[in-house]
């Protein structure tokens, strides 16, 4: 019994159909707790006023935007090394979710920045690298959409994802080098000094857990759809051949 057993699409479908309702339920519950707690039962920040409530959306989505790409990178590597179709399809399913997360992070950030910094957008390193990450997602999705043969598409997008990761990291440092920022430091590092206050921290953790679980659920569902599409395609090809 190993993890790789679930690389078998049939087993994956069976397991994921069991896991999915839990992921949905727990995700919605966590997000609900986090947001309600954060929205109704936390005080305003002394400096930022009530805008601090945006943190429960901004930080988790930003976190997931990066983690989604990281997940795609790992899945791409697994596909290239071990040739498990589920892995390639999971990478494909994660991309739209990642795009949405990046968009949420950018939009909530802009709405937050407007009253706090007096501007919707600054060419700050963090903001800029998120915009760049968004462009990488678009390129990745465009390549998936552009190629007809699914196996070729999986191979090429995987390589693009790996090369893109290297360049995304490079861009991150280049952008740091290119401009000094307005953006706050890390809000969740292990270094306690930098962190946000505890009042905001606990609901934030719930909200993050909710985002993670919903991301998991969406990717799982997306992967199932991709597998089903692939199977339908295989059946229709076989049907045509007869």
């Amino acid at each position: 019994m190993s993890l790789w057993e679930y690389a078998n699409p049939v087993k994956f479908l069976r397991l994921s159909s069991k896991v999915l309702p839990w992921a949905w339920g727990l995700g919605v519950a966590c997000l609900f707790i986090g947001l309600v707690w954060g929205f109704f039962f936390t005080p305003d920040d002394y400096r930022m006023g009530s805008t601090v409530k945006i943190i429960y959306l901004h930080v988790p989505s930003a976190l997931m935007a990066i983690n989604a790409w990281f997940m795609m990178l790992v899945a791409s590597l697994i596909w290239l090394i071990r040739r498990h179709h589920v892995s390639a399809l999971a990478a494909k399913a994660a991309a739209p979710v990642g795009v949405a997360m990046t968009l949420i992070a950018l939009v909530t950030g802009a709405i937050w920045g407007q009253p706090m910094w007096g501007t919707w957008w600054v060419w700050d390193p963090r903001l800029t690298s998120f915009l760049i990450l968004f462009l990488f997602y678009l390129g990745y999705l465009a390549l998936w959409a552009g190629i007809g043969n699914p196996d070729t598409a999986a191979d090429l997008t995987s390589i693009l994802c790996i090369v893109g990761s290297v360049f995304a990291v490079l861009s991150r440092y280049a952008v740091n080098f290119w401009s000094q920022g307005l953006h706050q430091g890390a809000s969740l590092s292990l270094d306690k000094e930098e962190n946000v206050a505890d009042v905001f921290y606990q609901p934030l953790l719930f909200s993050i857990a909710g985002f993670v679980l919903l991301f998991f659920a969406l990717v799982l569902l997306g992967t199932r759809s991709e597998i089903q599409f692939r199977r339908a395609r295989a059946l229709s090809l076989r049907g045509n051949a007869q």
Partner: protein, 50 residues
């Protein structure tokens, strides 16, 4: 019921609203794609049997 949001009410609410919209679009997209996939698979499987 509603907490006092002060002068930043518009910002906070629009941030929540925008997130709800983007997230909603994402969820609808994923669910629709899942439905389409299921339908396509079902169509293929029945045509094979028939």
């Amino acid at each position: 019921m509603m907490p006092e949001l002060g002068k930043y009410a518009v910002s906070v609410l629009s941030a929540y609203g925008a997130t709800a919209i983007i997230f909603g679009v994402l969820v609808v997209y994923v669910l629709r794609r899942s439905a389409v996939a299921k339908a396509a698979l079902a169509a293929q499987e029945t045509s094979k049997d028939g």
